[in-house]
Symmetry: C2
Subunit: 263 residues, 2 copies
């Protein structure tokens, strides 16, 4: 048996999220079926993060153990031809047996994409949230900065979230204006259920002046889901990267806690 | 009755092309139904070009005549909220009565997007053609240059194409390398059925060395569909722009007949 690390892209639109659920088409279930077809035995595929229904990934990581004695890239090609076009395995590596996609991960990076122009986009309607109203970006950046550090994120957790502890460490938050897109990126050691979607929903209320940046911090400190704004749509969210290196090793020169990056 | 010009974006994946067909969901049919709901009468919507099933648009133009006495932007907003998210009206203008989306057009610009890397893309599988083999870009550029000018394009017309004349004028052809994408753009006074998909299919055979650039010109001159390569998938194709100005007015400084533009 060899332990493999898979790196994955997927369009989550047509899936009921990552995790296997009876009678539902999920990313994990689709991958497990493809692996079983390839190796002829049941294979359990473990994901680094359980993305919700409709959430996409450009850099999800999964691990599995299987009897496969060809080069790892042969498994990559076999999986890609066996999977539907909206799930792509971009890399396969053989790992030490102790590698575990979820437990070995140090941090993850997610992106939420807002489309800020007068009219929605037909070609991007699956990948960004259309925001037709003007946004005060400076206020959003100021509010976003207060997320950084080790905090109780109960305010930004789904009411039915079931994490043992609501404490997470956010290493960095970035805003980036790319043409008509305002992109929000967040790097943390882990995320509570719906955490990013509730954070961005609340930041949007900061951006439109309903909440002041200083109120955002008070809402966060209140540790009460009812204080925050609604959970926004999953389709603007994408898991970009799962890192197996400590954050400060990877990104030594983070200068500002929350900045607008122009690109 | 006022004549309106609509500018449109659409994701063609879920439509049987532009043109109304009985029992099929089409872009034209969906637009006409939305207009009818808004003005309470049957409205005929005329497109600048009849895109095939699966082809997208970022700048399709349509014209219609209707009794609508509010500002044109009110019609844009009414249409956008009435249409499904994969069809977006980006602009509405009131025009002189002689304006006709198809007959008044001087030229159109289409883009075909190739994804040239080792593995396909899950998030772009609806918008680009995956090309896993290496391409000789210089040979493709040389061959593409021979398309420019006024020619009989019978070689690059669907076998069941029904155009009165196979003669078209190609004003410009461009290749652009954008990260992992090789983008082909073509501007012409009109296009025969499947013309761009057959041209790009044949250029791909030039790129992989099956056809020399000089053979490409001979194939074109042969005026026989059987000489060209197969019609490639519609999903990499997108109608970018319909222009109502003569080409040389719009783009005075076209330097090279067919060039690689780096961006």
């Amino acid at each position: 048996m060899t332990t493999f690390k898979l790196t994955l892209e997927y369009d989550g639109t047509n899936y009921h999220g990552w995790q296997v659920q009876p009678g539902m088409t999920t990313i994990q279930g689709t991958l497990q079926e493809a692996m079983t077809r390839i190796v002829g035995k049941d294979v359990h595929v473990m994901g680094a993060g359980r993305t919700d229904a409709g959430v996409h990934a450009l850099g999800q990581v999964a691990s599995l153990r299987a009897d496969f004695h060809h080069p790892p890239d042969t498994l990559r090609r076999a999986l890609t031809s066996s999977l539907p076009p909206d799930i792509v395995v971009t890399a396969v590596e053989a790992m030490d047996d102790e590698f575990h996609a979820q437990h070995s991960a140090h941090w993850k990076r997610y992106r939420y994409t807002l489309l800020t122009r007068r009219y929605p986009s037909a070609l991007e309607c699956r990948y960004s949230l259309f925001v037709p109203y003007p946004l005060d970006r400076d206020a959003m950046i100021e509010a976003g900065g207060s997320l950084i550090g080790t905090h109780d994120f109960s305010t930004f957790q789904a009411a039915h979230g079931s994490a043992e502890s609501p404490v997470r460490t956010v290493f960095a938050v970035e805003f980036r204006q790319q043409g008509d897109h305002l992109v929000f990126e967040i790097m943390a050691d882990g995320f509570l259920r719906h955490m990013i979607r509730i954070i961005v929903g609340t930041l949007l209320d900061v951006g439109r002046g309903r909440i002041g940046p200083e109120d955002f911090k008070a809402i966060h400190d209140g540790q009460d889901r009812n204080l925050a704004s609604k959970t926004i749509s999953p389709h603007g969210l994408c898991l970009l990267e799962v890192s197996y290196q400590p954050f400060d090793v990877h990104r030594e020169q983070t200068q500002t806690p929350c900045a607008m990056v122009c690109s």
